[in-house]
Amino acid sequence: MSLPKSLRELILGLADISEIKDLIDNELRSHKNPQLIVDELSQTLREVGDKYERGELFLSELMMIGYLASEAASNLKPHLSGAGKRSRGKTVMGTVRGDIHDVGKNIVVMMLQADGWEVIDLGVDVPPEEFVEAIRKEKPVILGLSALLTSTLEEMRNVIKALEKSGLRDKVKVIVGGRPITRMIAKEMGADGYADDSVAAIRAVREMARRGGGT
C-alpha cells in the first residue's frame, strides 16, 4: 500500500482538485493547524517558482498549479482564525490601458491568492484613473501593473504619473511586469520593482513585503 500523498506532491503532480480538497479536509478533521497547511502551500509555490525559473515546468503546468493552489487556498480560508485569517497584505493588479493580454497577470493573481494575499484584480485595458481610484479606495500595499506589448509601456508611465499627480505615489509600492520589462525600463519609469514573468512577479511582491511593503 502506498503512503498518502502530501499536499506538495498532489499539487506538483497536477492532481484532481477533489483529491486536494479531500486531503485538506482530512488534515483539518485530524486537527492539523490550518496555518501549517497554508505554510506548506506557500513553500510549494516557492519550489514551483524555482522549478519554472530553471525551465523544469512548462507554462501549462505553471497555470494548472496556480489554479490548484488558488482553489486549495480558498478551501482553507474559512478555517483560518486570528493572525492566520488576516491576509499578508492587499494588492491591486491590472493590465494597463491598450493591452488586453491577461495570461501572465492571471497566473500572478492565482499564485498571490494561494500565497495568502488579498488581490483586487481590475482586469485588462485599465485606464490610469481606474488604478488611482482603486488605490484611493482599497489602500493596497502593492500595485501590480501588467503589459505584454512594448507599445503599452508608455501606459505604465501614465499610471505612475497619475499616482504622483493625485498624491498617492508614496502610499503604494508599484511593481511593473510583463515580457518587455527590464530593470532599466522599470527604474526609468519610476517603479519600485519589476518582473519579466509571472514567477518573478510573485518573488518581487514577496521581496517587497519582506522589505516593508506588506504586512
Binding site: 512548462f58 494548472m64 489554479y67 488586453i100 512594448t150 514573468d197
Partner: protein
C-alpha cells in the same frame, strides 16, 4: 528580378539578387502613417471579422498601398468572413467571433483581441456550429489581392494554427484545464480545426498563393507553452497533415511562433518548410539555427520588435547586418521583424530595417 521571383528563389534555398524583405503584419495606425490614408474599421489578427465586402476591399487596398510604399517582396493576407456571417455583439460591446471567442476592442491598435469565450464546459462544443471551409467568401481578400498583385509580390495566406486557435477559443486557462483533465476532448478539437484548415488550404491553393504562414504561438520566452509530449501526440501530427495538404497543392508552409523555439526546432525542421519570428529576445540565435537547419528551414524574422520600439536607427542597422551575415548566405532567408510592426514601433526604425536590408542584403553577401 521582381519581388515574387526573389521570394521564390529564397524559399527554394537559392540566392536571389538580394535578400527578400517582408512583414507578417503592420498595425493599422502605422499603415495609416505610412500611406497617408485612413481606415476607420477595426480589424483582428486572430479572426476574420469585417463583413462588408467594400470595407474588406479597402482593408486589402490599404495593405497593398503600404506594402508597395515600403517595397516589400511578400504580401501576406488573412481570410475573410464567410458569406452571410454576422458577428454577435454582447451587451458590454464585445464581439463573439466565428469560433466562439469573445473579443475586446484594443483602441490603440484598433484591433479586436480574444479575451473570453462562449464555452463554459466541453459539452458546449457539441452544440457549437463549426465553420464550414466550403462556404463562400473565405478567400475574398486573397482573390482580391491576387487580382491586384498580378504576380508583382509573392502572395501568402495567413492561417491560424489549430493549437493557438483552440487556446484562444476556450481561453488559455480553460484550455489548460481541459488539456490535463479531458485530453481526448482537446485532441478532438485540434483535429477538427486541422480538418477545417485542410479544407481552407485547398481553397487558398486554388487562388494561387505561393505559401501559407501559420500564425499563432507555440512558445513563450521560456520555451514551449505545453509539454513536448503534447506537441508530439497532438499538435505535430495535425501540423503535418496541414503541411502535406499544402504540399499536395504545391504550396510552401511556414510556421510562425514567437518565443524560445529552440527545443521544438528538431521536430519543426522535419515537418514545415520554414519558421517565422525567431525571436532574439527569447534567446533564438538565427546564426545557430542557420548552421543546424539552414538546409531544411527557410528562416524569417529575428529583428527584435522590442528594439524596433525602443532602440535607435544605428542599432537597427547593426541588427540587420548581423542577421544578414548569419542567415542570408546560400538563400533560405527572408528578412523581417520578430513578429510585426506594432503600433508602438518607431517608424524610422522600421524603415531603417528595410533600407539596411536592401543595402547589405545584396548577393553575394559580402560581410
Amino acid at each position: 528580378m521582381n519581388h515574387r521571383e526573389r521570394v521564390i528563389k529564397a524559399l527554394n534555398f537559392e540566392e536571389p539578387d538580394r535578400v527578400p524583405i517582408m512583414e507578417n503584419g503592420i498595425d493599422t495606425p502605422l499603415m495609416e502613417k505610412i500611406t497617408g490614408d485612413s481606415f476607420p474599421y477595426a480589424v483582428s489578427r486572430q479572426s476574420p471579422i469585417i463583413t462588408d465586402r467594400s470595407h474588406e476591399s479597402m482593408r486589402v487596398d490599404l495593405r497593398l498601398k503600404c506594402w508597395r510604399k515600403i517595397d516589400f517582396d511578400l504580401f501576406p493576407i488573412d481570410l475573410s468572413t464567410p458569406d452571410g456571417w454576422k458577428p454577435q455583439m454582447t451587451p458590454e460591446g464585445d464581439m463573439v467571433d466565428l469560433w466562439g471567442r469573445i473579443m475586446k476592442l484594443d483602441k490603440m491598435t484598433r484591433a479586436w483581441i480574444p479575451y473570453s469565450t462562449v464555452f463554459t464546459d466541453p459539452d458546449d462544443y457539441d452544440e457549437f456550429e463549426f465553420p464550414d471551409p466550403l462556404e463562400g467568401g473565405w478567400v475574398y481578400a486573397l482573390e482580391y489581392a491576387k487580382r491586384n498583385l498580378e504576380g508583382e509580390m509573392a502572395l501568402a495566406s495567413s492561417l491560424r494554427d489549430p493549437f493557438a486557435h483552440a487556446w484562444e477559443m476556450f481561453t488559455p486557462m480553460k484550455f489548460v484545464l481541459w488539456m490535463y483533465r479531458e485530453p481526448s476532448f482537446i485532441k478532438r478539437v485540434i483535429e477538427d480545426i486541422a480538418d477545417f484548415n485542410i479544407g481552407i488550404i485547398k481553397r487558398v491553393a486554388e487562388v494561387g498563393v505561393d505559401l501559407i504562414i501559420s500564425s499563432g504561438d507555440y512558445c513563450d520566452a521560456k520555451g514551449p507553452m505545453v509539454p513536448l509530449s503534447f506537441f508530439r501526440d497532438t499538435i505535430f501530427p495535425n501540423l503535418r497533415r496541414q503541411v502535406d495538404a499544402a504540399h499536395k497543392s504545391g504550396v510552401k508552409y511556414i510556421k510562425h511562433t514567437d518565443g524560445n523555439i529552440n527545443s521544438l526546432l528538431p521536430d519543426l525542421a522535419d515537418i514545415v518548410d520554414g519558421c517565422h519570428s525567431l525571436d532574439p529576445s527569447a534567446g533564438v540565435d538565427i546564426g545557430s539555427v542557420k548552421k543546424t537547419y539552414g538546409d531544411r528551414l527557410v528562416l524569417m524574422g529575428n529583428i527584435s520588435v522590442d528594439n524596433l520600439a525602443l532602440k535607435g536607427r544605428a542599432d537597427i542597422v547593426e541588427e540587420v547586418k548581423r542577421c544578414i551575415r548569419d542567415a542570408s548566405p546560400g538563400g533560405g532567408h527572408i528578412l523581417s521583424s520578430s513578429n510585426s510592426w506594432a503600433a508602438g514601433a518607431r517608424l524610422e526604425n522600421c524603415l531603417a530595417m528595410v533600407e539596411a536590408g536592401k543595402t547589405y542584403g545584396v548577393y553575394p553577401i559580402k560581410m
